[in-house]
């Protein structure tokens, strides 16, 4: 490393230590840039792929009101993906590169979206648990050291709160409905609980990038801390619904002031990440197909833009003459 670079690195470290923001044109270590590109692009991909399990129920929503709400939510997810892709591009990668990495399977997205939405209760459980866990992860990111990411997260968090509330309301309606409806709500909780806990990522001991990300102020809380916060917040909500969290080891620990909960099946988590979840292939195929089928639209719009620019140039020349 040259003396100039050492100086820059020292200045960067000092900046981050003082909790100041790094902006796109500021000098930053390559590893910081790489970490952010990986994290922000995966976050964006999660928003985009996350539209698929919910989009599955738009045409079958039980009422026009629920359908309008679900449409608005799915449209928000697309918006969140776009805020994040543009934050990612400020780090010097192109949109095409980032999308190619998703479509080739090189880039990951949140493993939760590789589970299927089997019935309407799942839309409630996804909003309540999956968006609830996402908010828990995302709120601290509003203060992350990279300016464009932090600003995108502020917008995302503002919008995400409606997602969780509408999900809980679906669960509440079903839990207060017929015994069959309540059983559906319970079944959805049974299937989504553990995958939702896995959303916080591996245990701190098995999370190799965590320490560095904490040092860089990209991450503010450890995976296990956030997971515990989520459990503590969600268990009383399940009680309010009159539903049972599917964990025989779950109990309030007076001494710790937290809920104790049972062991997570990390084997399942790593299987899903490696591509062996119930819907990995379906999700990726759907993304690729949508991208390929949209190619002619992208080309046509580009051709149209080129033509009208040429026409405008022509007209102004004629006027000038």
């Amino acid at each position: 490393m040259s003396p100039v670079e050492m100086n820059l690195e020292a200045r960067f470290e000092a900046y981050v230590a003082e909790d100041k923001k790094i902006e796109p044109k500021d000098w930053m270590p390559d590893a910081y840039r790489k970490t952010l590109i990986r994290q922000i692009s995966q976050h964006a991909h999660s928003e985009i792929v996350g539209m698929l399990p919910e989009g599955n129920w738009i045409t079958r929503a039980p009422s026009l009101k629920r359908k309008a709400i679900l449409l608005a939510k799915v449209q928000d997810e697309a918006g969140h993906g776009l805020y994040l892709y543009s934050a990612c591009e400020t780090l010097g990668v192109s949109r095409d590169e980032v999308l190619n990495d998703l479509h080739s399977g090189k880039a990951k997205y949140s493993s939760i979206f590789n589970y299927p939405t089997l019935n309407w209760a799942d839309i409630g459980a996804v909003g309540w648990l999956v968006d609830g866990a996402a908010i828990m992860n995302q709120v601290p990111l509003c203060k992350c050291s990279y300016g464009p990411y932090a600003r995108a997260m502020v917008r995302v968090c503002k919008e995400e709160s409606f997602h969780q509330r509408q999900g809980f309301q679906i669960m509440l309606t079903m839990a207060e409905g017929t015994p069959d409806q309540k059983a559906m709500a319970q079944d959805a909780l049974n299937r989504w609980w553990w995958p939702a806990l896995m959303m916080f990522g591996p245990s701190d001991a098995d999370s190799p990038h965590s320490a560095q990300s904490m040092k860089w102020n990209i991450k503010r809380f450890s995976n296990d801390e956030l997971r515990q916060k989520f459990v503590d917040m969600t268990v009383p909500q399940a009680e309010l619904l009159g539903l049972t969290v599917p964990d025989p080891d779950l109990r309030w620990n007076e001494a710790r002031g937290h809920y104790d909960f049972g062991p997570i099946d990390w084997e399942e988590f790593f299987q899903v990440i490696q591509g062996n979840g119930p819907c990995n292939k379906e999700r990726l195929d759907a993304r690729r197909t949508a991208h390929e089928r949209g190619a002619w639209v992208r080309d046509a719009a580009a051709a149209h833009a080129k033509k009208s620019a040429a026409r405008r140039a022509n007209t102004s020349e004629t006027h000038a003459a």
Partner: protein, 95 residues
């Protein structure tokens, strides 16, 4: 697959009459018209704006972070540009 990426546009939104346009983010679009309509969908889904500017990102010239000291430090020692620099008698201190 499309080989030419649509250009990048920076988006500015006036949140209400009386305020300036503020940078909110960026997006890709084939031309200015499409940039406006995409910006409406991406950045104003909750009545965040009454007016949108779209600017080709390539058309923006920005100052370099390396010049920060040279550009902005000279203002540092000119405290007399601020009203608090002037100690006045209590009788006129609301001036």
């Amino acid at each position: 697959m499309s080989s030419h990426e649509w250009p990048l546009w920076e988006i500015f939104v006036r949140s209400r009459q009386g305020l300036g346009h503020k940078h909110v983010g960026s997006l890709h679009a084939a031309d200015a018209e499409m940039a406006i309509s995409n910006a409406r969908d991406v950045y104003t889904r909750r009545q965040e704006g009454v007016s949108i500017w779209v600017v080709p990102a390539a058309a923006i010239t920005a100052s370099s972070p390396d010049d920060k000291d040279a550009l902005f430090d000279p203002a540092n020692d000119k405290v007399y540009r601020h009203p608090t620099f002037y100690q006045l008698p209590d009788e006129v201190n609301h001036m």
